[in-house]
Symmetry: C2
Subunit: 289 residues, 2 copies
C-alpha cells in the first residue's frame, strides 16, 4: 500500500493514474502538483486528488511514491526541484513518451540516475488532453514499457510493475534506446505525418474549402493531429535522433510509390497496397490478443 502518491502533472495521464489508483485502493492519499492553478482546482473539485500543490518540493515531500506525468521537455526542471527533497526510500517513476531523453535529464541533474527512479511509459492516450479527459480505465489492457537501467533497484522496478498491473496494464521491459526506436515508428512518425498533412490541407482549405468534402476516413486519419502540440513538440525534440531519419525514410518510400503511380506500374502498386492491408490485419490481430 502506498502512503502518499504524488502525481506531478495532473493531466490526461496523471489524472487517469490517480483515478485508477484510487479505484483500486492502492494509496492512502493522492496529492497533485501542477503549474496550472486552475487545473489543480478542477482536479481537487472532482476528487481526482486529495490536495494540490503548485510547488514540487512541497508536493513531493514525504511522498513514498512519485509519478512524473508531464511533457518530456520539463524533466530538467522537475528533477532539479525533486533533488532537494529526494528520499531514497521512495519510488519515483515517470510516464514520459521518450526514455533516453528522460534518463539523460536525470544524469544531468543527479550526476547519475538514482537507483530508485524507474523510467516508464504507458502506451495510452487520447486526442483530448487535460484532467477533464482523464478516466479510471485509460490503462486497462494497455501496454506499459519500463526501461530500468543496470543499477536500478529491482525492488523499485517490482513496485512500479505491480502498480501498473493493479490498474489493468500489461507491463514489459526493454532497453531505453529500443523503446525510443520502436515508439518513433509506431507513434512519433504517425503523429508527425498527421500534423504535417492537416497543416498542409488546412492551408488549402482556407483557399478552397476542401474540408467540407472530407469524410469519416479523413476524420480517423487525422485524429492524432488533435493531440497536444506542446507535448508533441517536446517528443519531437527529445527523440529527434530516431524521428528525423524515419521521416526521410518515409519520404523515400513515398517517392517510390509516386513513381509507381506515375508509371502505371499496376502489379507493384497493388502489391504495396495489399501488403499494407495484410500488415494492418496482423496489427489488429495482436491488438485484440
Amino acid at each position: 500500500m502506498i502512503e502518499r502518491l504524488c502525481i506531478i502533472g495532473v493531466g490526461l495521464i496523471g489524472g487517469s493514474v490517480a483515478r485508477a489508483a484510487r479505484a483500486e485502493g492502492l494509496c492512502h492519499e493522492i496529492v497533485g502538483v501542477d503549474a496550472d492553478a486552475d487545473n489543480l482546482r478542477k482536479a481537487s473539485a472532482c476528487g481526482v486528488i486529495d490536495a494540490g500543490f503548485s510547488d514540487i518540493e512541497q508536493g513531493a515531500a514525504s511522498a513514498d511514491a512519485v509519478m512524473i506525468a508531464t511533457p518530456v521537455g520539463t524533466f530538467d526542471v522537475i528533477f532539479s526541484a525533486l533533488k532537494s527533497v529526494w528520499s531514497t526510500g521512495a519510488v519515483v517513476t515517470d510516464a514520459g513518451s521518450t526514455k533516453c531523453s528522460v534518463i539523460e535529464s536525470a544524469e544531468r541533474i543527479f550526476g547519475e540516475v538514482p537507483d530508485n527512479f524507474v523510467p516508464g511509459h504507458p502506451i495510452a492516450g487520447a486526442e483530448r488532453s487535460g484532467v477533464e479527459a482523464s478516466t479510471v480505465d485509460l490503462f486497462r489492457g494497455k501496454r506499459v514499457i519500463l526501461t530500468p537501467l543496470e543499477d536500478t533497484s529491482p525492488l523499485a522496478v517490482k513496485r512500479v510493475e505491480s502498480f501498473w498491473r493493479s490498474i489493468g496494464a500489461k507491463v514489459s521491459q526493454m532497453e531505453p534506446a529500443h523503446h525510443d526506436e520502436v515508439l518513433a515508428a509506431t507513434s512519433h512518425l504517425p503523429h508527425v505525418l498527421a500534423f504535417a498533412l492537416t497543416y498542409m490541407l488546412g492551408k488549402k482549405d482556407e483557399q478552397t474549402e476542401i474540408f467540407q468534402y472530407a469524410a469519416g476516413g479523413f476524420r480517423d486519419f487525422t485524429r492524432i493531429a488533435s493531440s497536444d502540440p506542446k507535448m508533441w513538440l517536446d517528443i519531437c525534440r527529445a527523440n529527434r535522433r530516431e524521428i528525423v531519419p524515419l521521416i526521410h525514410q518515409f519520404r523515400e518510400e513515398l517517392n517510390v510509390v509516386a513513381g509507381l503511380i506515375s508509371s502505371g506500374a499496376a502489379e507493384e502498386l497493388f502489391s504495396v497496397f495489399a501488403d499494407a492491408r495484410n500488415a494492418r490485419q496482423r496489427f489488429l490481430d495482436q491488438l485484440e490478443r
Copy 2:
C-alpha cells in the same frame, strides 16, 4: 418511381444503394450485375437484389435506371457492354471515386458522353468491402457530388439528385476537374500515406515486432490502409495527374518539418502543430453541421 434499377457492382456501395432504395420504396425491382457469382448469390440470398446477372447486357436491358458502382478501372469494359443496350429513356449514373477518368472513358466508348449519363460520387465508404459490409444508412447525412457536363440532360441530373436526396444524402455539383483536385487532397493522398506507412512499418514489424507496442492512435491512423487494394490501385491510376504532385508537395512539407525538428526550432514547430490542431477542429465543426 423507378421501374427497374440495375446496379452494376453489388459491393459495399452498390449493395448499400440497393438496400436504401428498397427501404425508401424508390423502385419496383432491383437487379444486380456482378462478375463474382458468389457475391451475386449472397446479395440475392439476403434480399439486397431481386435478381442477379453475370452479364451486363442482360442485367441492364429494360432498366430505366442504372448505377455503376465498380472500381474506376473497369469503366471502359462496362460502357462497352452498356453501349449495345443503351436506352436514351433511361438514366445512367455512377459512384466512381474519380470523375475525369470516368468521363474520358465514356468519350472513348461512345464518341461523346451520352446526355443521359450523370457522373456522380458518393463520399462514403468503410474499410470493409463487399456486399456483406453494405448497410441501409451508409449515405445518410453524407455528401454526394455530381459532375454533369454542359450537354447533360437537366432532367437526368434532377432525377439522380432526387434519388440521392431520398436516401438521405446531401447533393452538390461541381466541375469534374475540381472534384478530382479536391478528392485528391482529402481522400486520395491520405489513403496513399496510410498504405505507404503501413507497408513500411509492416516490413519493420517482420524484423522487430514493433506492432505489439502500437496503440489506438495507430489503429485510427492506419484504418484506411485496410481499404480495398484493387479499388485504390484504380483510383491512383485514374487520378495520377492530381495525386502525384500532391505526394511531392507533402514530401516537401515533411522535409520542412524534419528540418525544424533537427534544428530544434521550437516556435515554428509548435505553430505547425497548433495550426494543424486548429485546422482539424475546423474540419470537425463542418462535419457536424
